[in-house]
Symmetry: C2
């Protein structure tokens, strides 16, 4: 008698979730990083400590029900510093004001039966760009997300660099001859001149009737002198910031993402010049690339990290 | 009949070597980091490309012959960036001018039969302080060596952080409002005001007849106004440099080593104040400690890394 064992290769997925100040994004992520069932819902983080947990539960149930196969692990990214060993938020972050020192991993594990990994959203975006996006051939990459602030994730040979308690990559508030006071309190902080909202605020102070960074870049490209000076200053200070991060971390690729990156070479060309000006010759050859994965990068990265966790648990 | 197998626990050692611009230091390092048979000899790096290899061969033979047990692996530290995958020097460094892109690991392997690990000397000193010294309870530590320049090694959960090609931790030449031109070419580089030789040069320019950083600290402690101003400026710029590295890497401990550290609180007290002034509140709690292992740190770290390599090869 002869037994034939039939092995059905049922497809498997990780759930990736990206909890922001406004939206909860989610999707199913294959082992190779393909994203499907991508969804948005309100993140409800301003309502109470419980409301975003309810939003997460609903998203997890919906994604699990729609999966055409097994769901093997879950990754969740959110703003703020997250202790990599404990899986809890370190202190409080502006966008998650109801969650002081919140035990995020434990809370999500009670909603989902399998392995759970939690991390900062910029770290997950950086992981996705490193493995699949603009830094996919890098040994070490920095992915800088130009959103409300200037965020940064560091990936070294496929693994996120967290620092002691999840606080690595805080490049937005370096003391670098900033001329505008910042609420952070660091003397000379350059974020008010580097971030998207900062650029818009400086342009409006200069009398330009604009609403977005893209409009400032368009005016600069058309030769408007105030817009040109502000874009040059942004590129100079952001370039010094990146040169410093490059000397400390020695990445081979720096990826620029977020809304500002949509302006492409209008920012990237002067930025590359500034990095070359402020970096040591040994480090000035770093590549500066535009992000490749767009707004789903954080969701994809969360799913990839969930796969790592599931494979490590095997 | 009964066989009794007698297992003799012969002691085992790694050879640690620290090749500097003047001296080659070496010793036997036990698995727990105890140093024995510590020796100095001329490094001969200025003579030719072959001369330091001859010095290394002699040191290796001498240490192997003196070992009261097996020698299982060898670690060698030297100045400059070393590619962590290839084990070769990246370009050329001032102190090893005959060794452009030199295949260091391969060359030393031909002198020693067992596993060989090569790395930057500041990285090995940082590894030793992290495992056994002032940062032994840290998750992530920076060890800053104040010698001719300002060197830095980064260790994350027991492992050295190298960057893509061994260039991580280059904190000596950040563009931070430096007032004295530096040969490195970075605008605003602060090394001429932060390093030991820089402090001495500034003091002599100010008319003080001194020969060493220790004399500048002694004069500042006695209230001499020019010395006080120079030490305050050194602490301020070194503090801004460290605050920046702390925001990018989020260590829990920063170790200050090298000759300048012998002045203890005369530098460390104003340095702690400056770091607190320039770091975000979330990062300002980092501990700043004086190095514990002294000038043998690099040799001990080379031995510890050799043990890691031997254990990984098992």
């Amino acid at each position: 008698m002869c037994y034939v064992r039939v092995i059905t290769m049922e497809p498997a997925f990780a759930i990736g979730l990206d909890l922001g100040g406004t939206n909860l994004k989610g999707g199913l992520v294959s082992a190779s990083g393909e994203l499907s069932a991508y969804t948005h819902s309100p993140s409800r983080v301003d309502e109470s400590a419980q409301a975003p947990i309810d939003a997460l539960r609903q998203a997890i149930e919906g994604l699990a029900a729609s999966a055409p196969g097994r769901v093997i692990a879950l990754g969740l990214g959110c703003p703020g510093a997250i202790d990599p060993e404990e899986g809890c938020l370190v202190g409080r972050t502006a966008h998650l004001r109801h969650w002081e020192s919140f035990p995020l991993r434990t809370s999500v594990q009670s909603l989902f039966g399998g392995p759970v990994v939690v991390d900062n959203d910029a770290n997950f975006a950086a992981l996705a760009e490193h493995r699949l996006g603009a830094a996919r051939d890098a040994r070490v990459s920095l992915t800088i997300t130009m959103g409300t602030g200037v965020g940064c994730g560091i990936v070294d040979r496929g693994r996120v660099v967290h620092g002691a308690r999840g606080g690595a990559g805080e490049i937005g508030h370096l003391p670098l001859d900033g001329r505008i006071p910042c609420a952070c309190g660091v003397p000379g902080c350059v974020e008010p001149e580097c971030s998207g909202p900062g650029l818009v605020a400086r342009a409006r102070e200069a009398g330009l009737a604009i609403e977005s960074p893209a409009q400032v870049y368009a005016l600069a490209a058309a030769g408007e002198p105030r817009a040109s000076a502000l874009v040059a200053r942004q590129a100079d200070r952001l370039g010094a910031t990146i040169a410093i991060a490059v000397q400390i971390l020695n990445p081979d690729v720096v990826v620029i993402g977020g809304g500002v990156a949509n302006s492409g070479e209008l920012l990237l060309a002067p930025l590359r010049e500034a990095v070359a000006r402020y970096a040591l010759p040994s480090h000035a050859g770093v590549r500066i690339e535009r992000a490749a994965l767009g707004e789903a990068a954080g969701t994809i990265g969360a799913g990839l990290a969930a796969w790592d966790r599931a494979n490590a648990a095997d």
